[in-house]
Amino acid sequence: MIAIGIDLGTTNCALSFTDSASEPPRPLPIPQVLAPGEVGPRPLMPSFLYFPAPGQFAPGSLALSWVPGARDVVGTFARSQGATTPGRLVSSAKSWLSHAGVDRSGEILPWEAPEGVPRVSPLEASARYLAHLRAAWEQAHPDDALDDQEVVLTVPASFDAVARELTQQAAMLAGFEEPPRLLEEPQAALYDWVAQRGDAWRDEVSVGDVILVVDIGGGTTDFSLIAVREEDGTLELERVAVGDHILLGGDNMDLALAYTVRAQLEADGKSLDDWQMRALTHGCRAAKETLLGEDPPEQCPLVVPSRGRRLIGGSLRAELSRATLNAVLLDGFFPEVAVDARPQTPRRVGLTTLGLPYPSDAAITRHLAAFLGRGGDGDGFVRPTAVLFNGGVTRSPLVRDRIMGILTAWLTEHGAPAPTVLSGTDAELAVSRGAAYYAWARREGGVRIRGGTAQSYYVGIERSELAVPGIPPRVDAVCIAPFGMEEGSEVQLNQVFGLVLGEPVSFRFFGSSTRQDDDVGTTTTVAPLTELAPIETTLDGTEGQIVEVRLHARVTEVGTLELSAVAAQPDDDQRWKLSFDVRGQD
């Protein structure tokens, strides 16, 4: 048996594997189209899908050994080509997968693509990336079919039940025989740390510690809290809280820098076209990495090459100084704020577009303050004792120091000790490697992080009141699955519903990552909850007959939530599966 971990990322995918306890998981080089006619392996596969115009590339030049007649392309070339032709590029499919405002199984990507461009659903795009990873595996390991191995697929901790279910469906679309097990990315990062540390990890943390996982990737930021507990005399890890999915990451930082430099250039009377702006953004990324790295210079020269062949005559020169970087990046994205700071929400504009729900406040530290402020006792915030960083941005010592400085200030102000940093993981490969470690630990034994469901879930039930014309009936939310339900457990709602057979029935469905104390049956208003996709089913049976049912919620072995209606009569064991309607609501 080989243990395989797949990181289906917003901007990059990776697959790592291990077949022994002594060897840490290693990444699979993923063959991908690098340019028309050229195929080569890379450790990461950019999560981009590009649809060429007819005749844009020579026939057969996008061929892979497993798709000789490929007409579109994923990976490195999709990303670089898509940068010059954005209307034909599918990007951030994963963020769309968790966006309840659109039809996630509908052909909506590339978002706002011009007429005539092929489109796919977020589900299909994700399936394409998984199918590519799958084929890369099969090619490299023809004797070890993927379906015979222990496969773990990672999802953001903030993914709700619907997005998790869709991730599974994407895997099935990609040809997996069995749905792979799901694992939350911050947990995977922590598993990687445990794997790197070996048994020594138990010496670095102790009972009562709370580990904050700060994951800042290319396009998203996620926070999780994992507590160190003791059970039967040994240390155990338990995931106790997850934050919201924040669409903010390294790409935003590169853009912010590029706009700043462009303003400098324009002040000097130089103008940039779109192509040069993209080149500048690339340049800013490289400069950012230099200036945020070890021993940064005072300033970093930036050259925007001309597009034409005249490289020397046509290039524009600019400079990015550390002061600018500090002002734009550290003060813009990581401002020193108080622990009671909260992300600023601007007044809602009447007309909002249906794009991805980008946050209006770019300050990651304010989002962090809000996350820590959600739980916690006394003066209202959780006090982490250790921090694990993950994601490309956190490779920078300056960014890490900034976050640690702010956290330390928050904690020491309230009499808590400064947190320590858990180091030793690779920010880009930790998730896939940790997932492979977890896959191994599941089969062969090893440390496990307990967690269960990351949200609590509710069904909406109309209040029986006198109907008032023109006013929709008020809806109560009844908790159907509490926070932290473990794999394999099942709960039922005592309330009995009379449902008509032969007709489609639908319930409104809500989730919350903050209400951790609600039990099954707890009734609340819908205001503090996030509405997810409705759940629906058609109860087959004699049409028109009414049957009394109870709602059941079960967490499957692979980590998805399964809802069903079960006949309430004790002698009747009929069961109807409820499924999510992901076609999007308005």
Binding site: L34, A35, P36, G37, E38, V39, G40, P41, R42, A58, G60, S61, A63, W275, A286, P301, V303, P305, R307, R309, R310, L311, I312, G313, S315, R317
Partner: protein, 181 residues
């Protein structure tokens, strides 16, 4: 003397013009290479294999394509630098340097031939590998020779060029680009 492998030759051929251009000391050394007395072989060398009439060119073109795509290498060499200031050339060299370094890292792994620091004292024992280490200067008598390391040498330890699909024309080092309005 063993001939260098193709990869090493290609690398040398690509990089030397560059280094000669910017590194006066190296240029001086290379200028002296032809005048240096030949190393005395301990035994008659075997006849070198005849060079193939037509060397395989695809991988050379591939590397050139890569350097052009990532670092505008061909643009840089094809431009007449005489009219530009050093500052302008320097700025362009950054583009070339950054991109070509990245391209290089992607396809091949380079290691020094000798691990000693440049300037360190080095002894060449009898039967040393003349393809890996070249002795210059006051070469008299038989090895061992004593000297200082002038250049640690470069060796390609691993090369993995992208595979090409059937029918791909490698001689298009950079396609013409047309921006559709």
């Amino acid at each position: 003397m063993e001939p260098l492998g193709f990869g090493a030759r290609l690398w040398l051929a690509l990089v030397l013009p560059f280094r000669v251009l910017f590194d006066g000391q190296l240029a001086a050394r290379i200028d002296g290479v032809d005048d240096a007395p030949p190393a005395l072989p301990p035994e008659p060398e075997p006849e070198p294999e005849p060079i193939e009439a037509e060397p395989e060119t695809t991988s050379a073109l591939q590397l050139l394509t890569l350097f052009q795509r990532e670092g505008r290498f061909v643009d840089f060499l094809q431009e007449d630098v005489s009219g530009f200031s050093d500052a302008d050339i320097g700025a362009a060299a950054r583009v070339v340097h950054e991109g070509c370094t990245r391209a290089l890292r992607d396809v091949l792994t380079l290691a020094p031939v000798r691990s000693e620091d440049e300037g360190a004292a080095v002894e060449l024992a009898a039967g040393y590998d003349a393809s890996r280490t070249r002795a210059t200067g006051n070469l008299v008598g038989e090895p061992p020779f004593r000297g200082t390391l002038a250049h640690h040498g470069w060796e390609v330890t691993k090369i993995s060029l992208p595979t090409l699909v059937e029918g791909h024309d490698p001689s298009i080092v950079a396609p013409a680009e047309v921006e559709i309005q």
